[in-house]
Amino acid sequence: MMDPIYGRIASNKRKTFFLFLLYAVLFVLIGYFIGIYIGDPIVGIILAALIFIILFLISYFSGQSVVTKMAGAREVSKQQEPFLYNTVEAMSIASGKPMPKIFIIETEVPNAFAAGRNPQNSIIAVTRGLMNRLNRQELEGVIAHEMAHIHNYDVLLATVAIVLAGTIVFVSVIARRMIFFGGMGRGGRRGGQGQIIMLIVLIVVAILAPIFAQLLKFAISRQREYMADATAANFTGYPEGLASALEKITDQQVKNSPIENKALEGLYIVNPALGARSGNRASVLFATHPPAEERVKRLRAM
């Protein structure tokens, strides 16, 4: 049990580094093109490098707060939620890991996720619906699964990937607005320039889109989910708790729920988009999570 996990931790740290490198190269490349456009490639590269360093710092040091804000989660204390707090503390004792911060998302859809850069700086967020539906042992199973993700450094990779992907999407939205604004406001004489910007952005988006799709898969593979389930079962010594929790919450995902967010869906214990895709066989191929039935089957076989 020990060695495969240590191998996984090292591999996750490596992948995070590689992810950063890839983003850095992309940024510098974009900076270079924009630099050519404004007449000085060096300025473009320096600017891109600066922006990247800022992004790096944000995603590494406050990735978890960016993610909790995106998910609409709020931190709770022991006095506010004793049941949840006690359960998380029990799992922290069982796993021998430090206590994560606890967040709640006020929605009836049952789900949970973890984020953070290492076990000392991590959070676990659960929805109100999850707490209402699960008993102590089932909740323990879910929390143990999230602790396992933290312990295996899956969350570092996922958090960083989400923040970086999110910022690039943000930048592309701004760029699109600028083109739109420029095109409407001026036209005529500057139309040529606007077209060039449009072309650059289109090329950039065309390059980035498939890479992001790949990166998100990269960050949140199905193997990780099985691994986290197995680690969770080891922490609690009671796989049935998690199995029963998965059964209870998988069918409860609803369409257009407040937690349905493309960027975050891979982070949750059960994919929130299941509600939208239910009955669609093809979706299994592109799923960030293995089917719940398979996870339950494997847990019960332990």
């Binding site: 006690n86 069982a94 021998g96």
Partner: protein, 190 residues
């Protein structure tokens, strides 16, 4: 010349292995110490709540004097405990007594509606649960230590540096694991 090189290589490997095993034994020992102090802290927290629990329940459960006495007795037992075995014994007595107290409390709707009792019940059920996990963790660490101390060749290194086998905290039996399970009915009010 050839043979001295080989001998030297073997010697270096042996020394490296001894260093590695020694460090592993040390970190396992530290883990066990930490796990044990975890149990200790939790037992302290639980028994600190006992007088409060008894006072809250006393007025409602006139006829269950025996149950209350059992809880108080477990606390006294723990206060007088001086080794792992006695600690574990007191832990088991208390676990059983508190569990049956909560089970019986189902028959007292007034008590169940008492705000203070509800808080105590969640707190104590939570602590019972944490103790079960702390015990599990400690016992697993002890098992790892004992295996290392007894198995060849780490037993030689353990003997050299005077590492000893450790005592388990009670028994991690099915009975112990089922403790929070039975509490569920009472503690599942959230």
């Amino acid at each position: 010349m050839e043979t001295t090189h080989i001998l030297l290589a073997v010697l270096i490997l042996v020394v490296l292995y001894v260093i590695y095993s020694f460090n592993r034994l040390i970190s396992m020992r530290n883990m066990a110490d930490k796990a044990y102090s975890n149990i200790d802290t939790l037992l302290q927290k639980r028994f600190d709540l006992v007088p409060n629990l008894v006072n809250t329940v006393k007025g409602y459960m006139e006829h269950e004097r025996e149950l209350l006495e059992a809880v108080t007795r477990a606390r006294t037992e723990w206060l007088n405990a001086s080794n792992i075995k006695e600690n574990a014994g007191a832990d088991q007595t208390a676990e059983r007594a508190i569990k049956s107290l909560f089970a019986v409390s189902e028959n007292y709707p007034d008590l169940k509606a008492n705000q203070n009792f509800m808080m105590l019940q969640e707190e104590l059920t939570g602590i019972e649960n944490k103790i079960a996990y702390a015990r599990q963790r400690y016992n697993r660490t002890v098992m790892a230590i004992n295996t290392a101390v007894q198995r060849f060749p780490t037993n030689l290194i353990a003997r050299l540096f005077k590492f000893q086998t450790r005592e388990y905290f009670a028994v991690e039996s099915d009975q112990a694991r089922s403790a929070p399970q039975i509490n569920m009915q009472g503690g599942d009010n959230k």
